[in-house]
């Protein structure tokens, strides 16, 4: 069986207490608390693993302990030619430890494996689990004025409707940025609203003259608590839709990752046609996401003409999505066991025609952009992600493939229909913005070819299996999807009564943020926005605005529609009934 080799090697190193298998390529090994750092380090560096996700879980109702799951994708270090595990041996190995609720501490893995830093910070925010030896113990996810002793994801912590009192904005504690030593260093805040993406994220750049010496950032200004929401009241069919709303761009990847995690936990195989259509939809999503990012990389440098032309092409990819799913952006067709909507032959024919348009036009515009030496000079040598840094922090997606590491979930752990499709993995050396945009361009081309192959090989089966199944409580599984920004990993532990016990959704960008500060270093302020953009960051956005009148201290929630109406007509001011 897969994974046995790694478990054997791990067993020779540390004492394994228990081994459980979740799926054919997923194994969990329970180790003792003191062995944890060594076990993760051994799998990560010696056996060639990448950290896919780390899940903290409140299992006091199951085994009277908290549990930590470090899920590693065993695929080889990929630092040089041949440093890769054979294709049929790639798998996921999860290291599990139990943390007792009395002392709540566990030894931190971060000093040995830097990729764990954000996960361990989040484990404190959500569960109050303290990583002993973690170099950076600041809050990550929750706001700075969150009550000290309230850990929202603990099962007994709080009702999901509960909102702790907000502090007055002038009483809010200041977030401490990690400031580098030295004199003459100027802070330049980029945010809290990012200047070009118009999304919430505070980047503090520490500059010596023009050059960025170091950077630190505070994100999660709009954490929406979706994991808590899903745990409490959603069934599996609803969760697919909730997961799709995690992101405004790559939501579909989240939807299938979430549903497939649940499907894997009960070993449910979905029909081939549904698999193919899921692949088509996620590749369409890749088309429009990459077009968006290449367009923005032009726009941030001031090349509006290229930006507009790329967005014109992007419109075709939205049209394609409309043909295949009925929706331009949020497709909403994933349910447990398959899909809700099939496509007809006419739609396939029309889709192939649009695909041809996209293919030729992308090539034309890209050639034009590449002819512009000034544009290439703005991209080359900027925001370099060193190969070793990428390895240490388990970066994903075009970010790591631009640094010359061939890491793609579609290739490492082929899921769904990808087993039957041939495609190229775009890997570009260099690690700069240019390399990342080049990866995206090459992926656009391979996406077009994947979609075409799917349409041609379209199996004639049903699109959904009978969704009567029995969910077994305490079963868990990982599901992984290569979203446009990289690997999305969802981890689901099932609970009773068709509800989830714990849902851990790890978006691609989560693994890319921690290495960003290394990309900033040594660049000029002029390129800061470009570097952030080339990462293709995905902030979570909400569509609601809160209006607060400072004088009367009253607040009111405006919906998107109210705000738009007011902006158009200037009537019915939302401020009126506040005074």
């Amino acid at each position: 069986m897969k994974c046995d080799k790694f478990i054997e090697a791990l067993g020779a190193r540390v004492k394994i207490l228990e081994v459980t298998r979740q799926y054919e390529d997923q194994v969990t090994a329970l180790v003792g608390l003191s062995d944890l750092p060594e076990a993760v380090r051994f799998l990560y560096y010696d056996m060639g693993g990448y950290l896919s996700t780390m899940v903290a879980n409140d299992e006091r109702s199951i085994n009277k302990n908290y549990a930590l799951y470090y899920a590693l994708s065993m695929e080889g270090g990929k630092m040089f030619e041949g440093d890769e595990i054979a294709q049929d041996e790639k798998c996921f190995v999860t290291v599990k430890v139990l943390v007792s609720p009395e002392n709540l501490t566990y030894p931190s893995v971060t000093p040995l494996v830097p990729a764990c830093v954000w996960y361990e910070r989040e484990a404190y925010d959500m569960f109050g689990l303290i990583a002993d030896g973690l170099p950076d113990k600041r809050r990550l996810v929750l706001s700075d004025d969150w009550p000290e002793d309230l850990f929202p994801l603990r099962k007994d912590a709080m009702d999901y409707r509960y909102r702790p009192d907000m502090k007055e904005h002038y009483n809010e504690p200041e977030y401490e940025f990690l400031r580098p030593e030295g004199s003459g260093i100027i802070d330049v805040p980029l945010g809290p609203l990012h200047v070009t993406a118009d999304e919430p994220g505070h980047f503090r750049l520490f500059c010596d003259g023009d050059i960025i010496v170091d950077a630190d950032y505070r994100l999660f200004y709009q954490h929406r608590g979706m994991e808590k929401l899903a745990e409490n009241r959603m069934n599996y069919d609803q969760m697919g839709y909730l997961a799709e709303r995690v992101c405004g761009i790559c939501g579909y990847a989240h939807a299938i990752a979430c549903i497939e995690a649940a499907e894997k936990a009960i070993n449910l195989e979905i029909p081939a046609r549904a698999q193919a259509i899921r692949i088509i939809c996620s590749e369409i999503e890749r088309l429009h996401s990459h077009l968006l990012n290449i367009g923005l990389a032009c726009e941030v440098t001031g090349n509006y003409t290229a930006f507009m032309h790329i967005f014109r092409i992007r419109e075709y990819s939205m049209k394609l999505a409309e043909l295949v799913t009925g929706g331009r952006k949020t497709y909403g067709n994933v349910v447990m066991g398959g899909l809700r909507r099939d496509i007809t032959g006419v739609e396939i024919k029309e889709s192939l025609r649009i695909l041809k348009i996209i293919e030729t036009q992308v090539e034309e515009v890209w050639d034009a952009v590449m002819d512009d030496k000034r544009q290439i000079k703005r991209w080359k040598g900027v925001g370099v992600l060193d190969k070793q840094v990428a390895r240490d922090f388990s970066a994903v997606g075009p970010n790591i493939r631009g640094s010359g590491i061939k890491r793609d979930t579609r290739y490492d752990h082929p899921y769904d229909f990808f087993k039957q499709i041939e495609f190229d993995i775009a890997v570009v050396e260099g690690g700069d913005v240019f390399a990342r945009e080049m990866v995206r361009y090459l992926e656009l081309k391979s996406s077009v070819s994947i979609i075409r192959q799917c349409f041609e090989l379209m199996p004639q089966t049903a699109i959904i299996v009978d969704p009567t199944f029995h969910v077994k409580p305490e079963n868990f599984a990982l599901a992984y999807v290569e979203a446009p920004r990289g690997e999305n990993v969802h981890w689901i532990m099932q609970g009773s009564a068709q509800k989830v016990f714990r849902w851990r959704c790890r978006a691609a960008t989560y693994n890319n943020w921690p290495s960003l500060r290394f990309q900033f270093r040594g660049n000029t302020i002029a390129d800061a926005a470009l570097i952030v953009c080339s990462l293709d960051p995905c902030y979570s956005c909400t569509e609601r605005v809160t209006v607060v009148d400072i004088k009367s201290k009253k607040s009111k929630i405006l919906t998107n529609k109210d705000l738009k109406d007011f902006s158009k007509t200037l009537k019915n001011s939302p401020m009126k009934d506040l005074r």
């Binding site: 100027i186 802070d187 330049v188 805040p189 200047v195 070009t196 023009d210 032009c298 726009e299 941030v300 440098t301 001031g302 090349n303 509006y304 003409t305 930006f307 507009m308 032309h309 014109r312 512009d372 000034r374 544009q375 000079k377 703005r378 000029t524 302020i525 002029a526 390129d527 926005a529």
Partner: protein, 305 residues
């Protein structure tokens, strides 16, 4: 009467500038496969901004408040110093001097920079220091070219220089003058602050990095001032190097506005394609070209051709 014409010169420029801006936007949109806004959109934008109130952050001082008016007054004076509707015998002629325009330009830049610093917005601060750096690059080139013209024509009085050129005593048959005109046009384009010479370091919108904190009425006034500055800079080139002219002040005003409009609109062929320059890499490199052209002109003048 001459006051009336001077007034007309300024008012017509203010009234017509948004139209040319609108045409440039429309044309730019065409090249970006967009329909684009109507050519009167800039008027609407200004009207909308003028209706809005102003905001002011706690860290600002009186500089922030007076800067828009100061900028507008400076650019208005700069535009009035261009002898379009008056000749060398008019009473304003003695104010219309190359040095007056240079110093008004410097005053404008100074106001612009301190208004950015005054807001304590880090991006405005960065933008301001960039604006100052652009000044270092462009002013040296401009002065080199102007020295050639001033010494060649024997005066720093603009109406006088224009008259000498029109009479045919000085002009493109003098190589140093002809070469200086190339560098001067280049540097005047840089002074208009359009891409690729706007501020990559600041906000994504051209000079708005410096103006990040301004809004409403203040922003509208600054927008008009910036447009007037662009007109003055292009006009400065036209007056010195293309002094076409009618005897009727109204006709020469119309001709002049048409020329400026032509330059203003067709500059989109430069600013619409390609990314903007960063200060470190490209700004330095590309400003070397006009500097060397200007130096050649100066050398040619010194050796007497």
């Amino acid at each position: 009467m001459s006051y009336f014409y001077l007034f007309l010169q300024l008012i017509s420029a203010i009234l017509v500038a948004p139209l040319f801006d609108g045409i440039a936007r429309k044309l730019r949109a065409k090249y970006q496969s967009r329909i684009g806004p109507s050519i009167f959109q800039t008027y609407r934008d200004l009207y909308k901004l003028l209706k809005r109130g102003r905001t002011k952050s706690h860290s600002t001082s009186f500089i922030y408040q007076i800067a828009p008016y100061l900028m507008f007054a400076t650019t208005a004076a700069m535009f009035c110093a261009l002898p379009i509707t008056y000749e060398s015998y008019s009473i304003f002629a003695r104010f219309s001097d190359i040095f007056v325009i240079i110093y008004l330009g410097a005053l404008f830049r100074f106001t612009f920079i301190i208004s950015g610093f005054d807001t304590a917005n880090p991006f405005a601060g960065v933008g301001s220091s960039r604006e100052a750096t652009i000044g270092f690059y462009s002013e040296a080139v401009a002065i080199c070219c102007l020295i050639v013209v001033m010494l060649g024509a024997g005066s720093s009085n603009i109406p006088l220089i224009a008259a000498i050129i029109r009479d045919g005593n000085y002009g493109y048959f003098v190589p140093s003058y002809a070469i200086a005109s190339t560098a001067f046009l280049w540097v005047m384009y840089v002074e208009t602050g359009r891409k690729p010479y706007d501020l990559a370091e600041a906000e994504q919108e051209l000079q708005e990095g410096v103006l990040g904190e301004y809004c409403g009425k203040d922003l509208a006034i600054i927008d008009v001032a910036l447009m007037l500055k662009q007109f003055s800079m292009l006009g400065f080139f036209l007056i010195l190097f293309e002094p076409w002219h009618f005897n009727n002040p109204i006709l020469s005003l119309l001709l002049f506005l048409a020329e400026i409009g032509f330059l203003y609109v067709f500059a989109i062929f430069i600013d619409n394609f390609g990314p903007r320059f960063t200060m470190g890499k490209w700004m330095k490199l590309t400003m070397l070209f006009p500097l060397s052209i200007a130096s050649i002109a100066l050398m040619l003048y010194i050796i007497g051709v």
